[in-house]
Point group: C2
């Protein structure tokens, strides 16, 4: 017992300061989601393994945290049977439930399970932790929050438009300058069609993405290494060299993809979305190298990069055509977005962008000099709290120094000092902890000085 207790690797405690900052992030995102008519749902931490297995690939299945069945999880298996069964099979025998791995699959399950209660289009957001048995490393945790918003049951591109506006509004509120990158899976499909290399589209985008870093010749060499034939590489040149404004890029792509129906559809979708955005505070950039790993995207895809911090994508999303098909409800299109709360947290920390009022907790601490003084303070505290001022009295009448240290540690901006002379005057000595200034004020004036 003497050993200091600890928490599982890859998990975190959040201190009061960290929570204040995280709440600021989550509340800002929630508020913007709500401004656009999204409503919150929550799903259980545990899902049936039958819901989760097979949805994240073979690797994903291994990364699911599985929960041991309670009671007799062996249900009569003999030692011999156990010895003759693979670990993965045993896990399925011993466990019926697992912790959710993301919010997308539980959302799909939710939509199918509650289809009769839902009015489509369904605009939901969800902010909950997910768990992955990944090897922990810097910036990668086994428990982390996702903040997703999705619209399902509408194919309108206005949904994409609004999601881009949400991204712009959220990062404007945070004060983080970002570049919103958009692309369209249909354009990528069109490119693959055009050069007859449907299976190479990821290799192609990866290679093109290196243009700035390694130059055109090296990109072309890499494409050749990837097994792309010379004529296909030739056809890719206008795409690799694509530049100019979004309108110019789209104009070029119309020419390049003139023979691909699906490619042109992707271009038209991009044009539509860009034309309806209105005034954004952040730049939005068509980026054909944006592919996003997830195979279920079928239309617009987007990603957000912070401009002033070196960090991976801090938000992403896209359009999918068949989220719920796997649960027996095909043909439901949707589009979604996911803010990367942990990375946004790091960005706001690095740029020191937390507003003071978001991080501040208690506004005034009353020093405790003993029972008579505390009795004088208690009704004042009650009045302040009624006025919405976050107020504390130090619970014990210990040395002043200790009480002031407490105020400093909690970064409380005002300390109210009430001793005999203040009580005699019916006043409070209010100390501004930042300027050091002290003033005698009547109890009724405190709120206006602090507030």
């Amino acid at each position: 017992m003497a050993q200091k207790p600890s928490i599982p690797k890859g998990t975190r405690d959040f201190s009061t300061t960290e929570m204040a900052k995280r709440n600021y992030i989550f509340n800002t995102i929630k508020e913007v989601y709500a401004l656009y008519g999204f409503q919150q749902i929550e799903t259980p931490a545990m899902e049936n393994l039958s819901t989760l297995m097979g949805k994240y690939g073979e690797e994903g299945d291994k990364l699911l945290f599985k929960i041991l069945n309670s009671g007799d999880f062996m249900h009569g298996m003999t030692g011999e049977e156990v010895a003759n069964t693979s670990t993965l099979r045993l896990a399925s025998k011993f466990c019926e439930k697992g912790l959710r791995y993301d919010l997308t699959v539980p959302f799909a399950r939710y939509v199918v399970q509650h289809r009769e209660e839902l009015t489509l289009p369904f605009k939901r957001y969800q902010i909950q932790p997910v768990w992955r048995a990944d090897r922990p490393q810097k910036g990668r945790y086994r428990e982390f929050y996702q903040c997703d918003a999705d619209v399902v049951g509408s194919e309108s591109l206005l949904n994409e438009v609004e999601l881009m506006q949400i991204v712009d509004t959220v990062f404007t509120k945070f004060g983080v300058r970002v570049c919103i990158k958009i692309n369209n899976r249909k354009i990528l499909t069109g490119i693959a069609e055009m050069i007859g290399q449907a299976d190479k589209i990821v290799d192609i985008t990866v290679a093109i993405d290196k243009l700035d870093k390694i130059g055109l010749d090296a990109v072309n060499a890499e494409l050749a290494d990837d097994g792309i034939p010379a004529d296909a590489i030739e056809k890719l040149q206008p795409i690799i060299n694509l530049s100019g404004t979004n309108a110019e890029k789209l104009q070029t792509m119309k020419t390049v993809l003139a023979d691909s129906e699906i490619g042109l559809k992707g271009v038209a979708e991009c044009e539509y979305i860009l034309s309806k955005l209105g005034d954004l505070n952040n730049q939005i950039e068509l980026d054909l190298t944006l592919a996003r790993g997830l195979n279920y995207y079928t239309g617009a895809i987007f990603e957000v990069k912070a401009l002033d911090v070196q960090i991976g994508s801090i938000t992403g999303g896209g359009r999918y055509d068949n989220l719920t098909g796997i649960f027996g409800m095909p043909g439901l299109s949707g589009v979604g977005i996911s803010f990367g709360a942990d990375r946004i947290y790091d960005v706001l920390n690095q740029l020191d962008l937390y507003p003071q009022e978001a991080v501040n907790a208690t506004q005034v601490l009353f020093v405790n000099f003993g029972e008579a003084e505390a009795d004088f303070c208690l009704p004042i505290l009650a009045t302040l709290r009624k006025a919405g001022i976050r107020s504390e009295i130090y619970p014990d009448s210990v040395k002043m120094k200790k009480q002031m240290a407490y105020a400093n540690a909690k970064q409380i901006p005002f300390v109210a000092i009430v001793g005999e002379s203040e009580m005699a005057e019916g006043k409070v000595n209010l100390k501004n902890m930042i300027t050091g200034e002290q003033s005698m004020v009547s109890p009724s004036e405190i709120a206006s000085v602090i507030g």
Copy 2:
């Protein structure tokens, strides 16, 4: 795949309406906690089993959800070894982690683990789900939220006073009339000492608690059945018959417990707490039958009963002397409170006490008649959202009836209708969905009509 997906028994999905109501509850409690200087922390869902095991009794150990180690959880055990090991031992071999069972043990672990970073007294609140492999039944879930606040590192009774004020404020905000019951473990210890039946104190409080229902004779008979000697029952009569105001009850107890130092201390603590509360909106009642199950309480204990709904205790808490001793940090006293969010949810539902603004989501829906009309609406939506009005445009230009059904299903109070004539006039036809009233307003007037 055709089978409708489901969730593990004892768990719940929360719909948008349920979440709005739950958020109202959590936000109200959070706000009041913050008014009293409590700050939020969060701990991981998973704790090491070494942290959790043995803290909740033998029964509790069985109710822990254990997480199968990832990878080769058998770590080389042979079939024979498996066959010769008990299920409980195997569970410990296969699992290093478990889901948290309450917020108290993780909090104790947190305090010990982070002792160097903390300034005492530490006033924290924590609102997170907990998991118990209990048999699910009406009102009992395998995943549910707890909302705890605790102060550790201060023995001052002002903490108890403030927790009672918090309870009073929270239920006043909810509009729920409650009775706050308080007692003190020291009084119960005093009673047990007085009659020489230290181990019978729970039986005694259970029997006394039935006075109203079964009458004095039956209570005395039950005490005798419990093995309490006649002379002890005789001594208990003033306690069983205790009545009057809190002051009168305390006066009686001073006489009854005159020979018990610890009993008198409990009485004095109650007196002190009651004398410092100030004006409460709810009644507070000294109730000697209040024992609370948890053995770790050592001083004041309290529970809250709703007056207008038949339901068990909706909030409870108390003073403990040695929360962190089990993790090697003895002597840290604390006092805490826990709001029962699920029961409070039921109470507010039954009494229909949710304020409309807490449940309302989108404030205005713009009907979508096509691209030209949508183009007219989009800048208006942008302006409204900047003004903080939660606004939507129906994403697809489908039949009006379907769009109005959507507004009704989401209980959106205003619908903005923009067709050719409205566009020609540069106005919006704003329909109040509750009164049915329609009026032509200019875009700049919408916010003031809705807001």
